[in-house]
């Protein structure tokens, strides 16, 4: 936990982009979820024990700008093509969580040479018949915690979501919601074309899912595992959508 965390800003294709780095060792890129975990959390630190973790904030999240130029998930993936070029990163492991995992898959399809292997945690991106996703765009924080966490009363659950409109994190929270809605409102957190592209993702892929994920049901993980040519699915018991908090050590170990 004593690793130093650095924040800096890049200009990626004209967009001011917040970048957090931590740890040392070979590079690894972490793509965050709709929750916008752009400050270091224990899960980042676990990854940083073996890697230099690059954790950029997507446009519209944290202090990153440029959301006006993002109309869908593909624009977001192109933004990362630019970012990888700027950082001279290629053929590196990419770990994504939820929205970030969907983005990682889109990036691997768009520029396979950038991604050496994939770690997908509770990935969005699919519409699976019979396994509808929960409603993320609600104002009720108690309901949100129930949706995301196996134990909504855990300290992790209480620390990651604001508790009232007066919470000091409210403005950043609203920004994150808006940036998520930009790419995930309709179609709802998925890309209807994605299934037809999955056969192109040949990198070794580890998929990690909470058994009790209420936001993105496990059936989505099973679909990915079945249709990605080189993937394995790891299911975590007594775990919801909040994998990096609920099963920090286990998930990091599986993905290392």
């Amino acid at each position: 936990m004593s690793l130093s965390v650095q924040h800096r800003f890049l200009h990626v294709g004209g967009k001011k982009t917040q970048l957090m780095t931590l740890g040392d060792g070979p590079p690894l890129v972490y793509l965050h979820s709709a929750g916008g975990e752009t400050e270091a959390i224990p899960f980042h630190h676990k990854l940083a024990e073996h890697y230099t973790v690059y954790a950029p904030a997507h446009p519209g999240f944290a202090l990153s700008e440029g959301l006006n130029d993002i109309l869908d998930i593909h624009d977001l993936a192109w933004h990362y093509v630019d970012l990888f070029a700027d950082l001279e990163l290629a053929n590196v492991p990419v770990i994504g969580y939820s929205l970030g995992a969907w983005l990682a898959v889109e990036l691997a399809i768009l520029r396979p040479q950038l991604v050496s292997r994939l770690g997908l945690i509770s990935a969005a991106g699919l519409h699976v018949e019979g396994a509808p996703m929960g409603e993320l765009f609600i104002d009720d924080f108690d309901k949100l915690r129930e949706l995301i966490f196996f134990d909504p009363s855990s300290s992790a659950a209480l620390e990651t979501t604001p508790s009232s409109p007066d919470d000091s994190r409210m403005l950043m929270w609203l920004r994150a919601r808006e940036a998520t809605a930009r790419v995930g409102w309709n179609p709802y957190l998925h890309d209807p074309k994605l299934p037809r592209h999955l056969h192109r993702v040949t990198q070794p892929t580890t998929i990690v899912w909470g058994r009790h994920d209420k936001l993105i049901p496990l059936a989505h993980g099973e679909y990915y595992a079945e249709h990605l040519p080189n993937a394995t699915l790891q299911i975590l018991e007594e775990c919801g959508h909040g994998v990096p908090w609920e099963k920090c050590e286990e998930a990091a170990t599986l993905l290392m």
């Binding site: 104002d139 007066d166 409210m170 808006e178 809605a181 409102w185």
Partner: protein, 380 residues
């Protein structure tokens, strides 16, 4: 002062335990609760009430658009306005409004409004709105594009009415090779435009700049209206003119009966049905619907919203609804409308479970014993 009868066409048969059992009267409220035969009866009663407003000498009637909800079962106000265009003779017909981003392409609004203007002989008031938060869920329409869609559609509709076609439109949201609506409106250069607002500064500045009329969104505390209307007048001054009171409208529930006691006795249960059931879920701000700062501000401002009221006293002190004898209603409206500086009073005379006969009595007493004195007063 002009007087309008505003109608939501609310659903009056929610189960007694609705407030406990259901999260919202919007978007996800199961439509199995809707009974079409009863719905038909309601629509006809409601249209009769608006036709009555014409006979009683109101200056106008208002209809409005909402989707997938029990609060206002009027997904197409234009259907209602077109019936009223035929069945009324004198009133202005204000559609407040069409939610522009929901129309694809929005030239449809220019067309349908022109039809209503033609059929009514030039009595249309055109309300052009962004649409409520819940509508962005009901239509799965991306709220992060709401404002830019609204601005583009607004300009396009105005162009439809003021330029002759065909012309091309290549905007961010719509690409139209041929824009050439038939028919065109009678009123020139175009029907009066009303824009409702809940206090966002962007809207206030836009309306002031273009010299349109600003309608205050209802169910807020009087102080909240006051603040917004003052902001509007300031914005008009900054644009080099003094606001005409007719550029401002105040919308609120009104109930008049023979005495104060009788008014509350007849009205109170219906008011609470409205507040506790129908308003549930109305106020929701999907991401990007307006700026992050506005959303944060409005969420704090909701302490001054009618749903925070627990008692009759709360209602009366905040001026959330005006209830009482003709004398009481007259005096309160006189005082408040003077204080707010509004030239249009938009009354909700039916708010849900109120029986048809009482809604008609309410409107009749208002027209006969409240309206004439307020009119005379405002002309002095």
């Amino acid at each position: 002062m002009k007087f309008f009868a505003f109608h939501l066409m609310p659903w009056d048969r929610l189960p007694a335990d609705f407030a406990e059992r259901y999260d919202s009267a919007w978007t996800t409220v199961p439509n199995s609760l809707y009974d079409p035969r009863h719905g038909g009866q309601l629509y006809n009663d409601y249209l009769d009430q608006l036709v009555l407003a014409d006979k009683l000498g109101f200056d106008g009637v208002c209809v409005n658009e909402h989707h997938q909800n029990a609060y206002g079962t009027m997904p197409s106000p234009n259907l209602m306005a077109s019936i009223l265009a035929r069945q009324t003779k004198h009133v202005k017909i204000a559609v407040v409004g069409n939610a522009l981003p929901l129309y694809n392409p929005p030239t449809r609004v220019a067309e349908e409004f022109a039809m209503i203007d033609c059929i009514s002989g030039g009595r249309l008031i055109a309300g052009l709105v962004v649409g409520g938060g819940p509508e962005y869920y009901s239509f799965s329409l991306n709220p992060t594009h709401a404002r830019s869609m609204y601005r583009e559609a607004f300009d396009l509709v105005l162009r439809c009415w003021t330029e002759t076609g065909p012309f091309e439109h290549y905007g961010q949201h719509w690409k139209l090779r041929y824009v050439n609506p038939w028919p065109r409106p009678i009123q020139q250069p175009h029907p009066p435009v009303w824009i409702p607002g809940a206090g966002s500064k962007e809207t206030i500045q836009f309306v002031a700049q273009r010299r349109f009329a600003y309608m205050g969104i209802p169910y807020f505390h009087l102080d909240f209206f006051q603040r917004n209307f003052d902001l509007f007048r300031d914005a008009c001054e900054k644009n080099g003119y003094t606001a005409d009171p007719e550029q401002l409208g105040w919308l609120l529930p009104i109930y008049v009966a023979e005495s104060d006691e009788q008014a509350w006795a007849e009205y109170e249960e219906h008011l609470w049905y409205f507040v506790r059931n129908l308003l549930k879920g109305l106020v929701i701000f999907p991401p990007g619907y307006t700026s992050v700062r506005s959303i944060a501000g409005i969420q704090r401002g909701l302490q001054q919203f009618m749903t925070a009221c627990q008692t009759r006293d709360d209602i009366e002190r905040g001026g959330y609804a005006i209830v009482g004898s003709p004398k009481t209603v007259r005096e309160k409206l006189q005082t408040y409308s003077k204080r707010l500086g509004v030239g249009n009073l938009l009354g909700l005379f039916q708010i849900g479970t109120l029986p048809h006969e009482l809604a008609c009595k309410n409107m009749s007493l208002f027209a006969e014993q409240v309206m004439p004195q307020l009119r005379a007063e405002s002309q002095r």
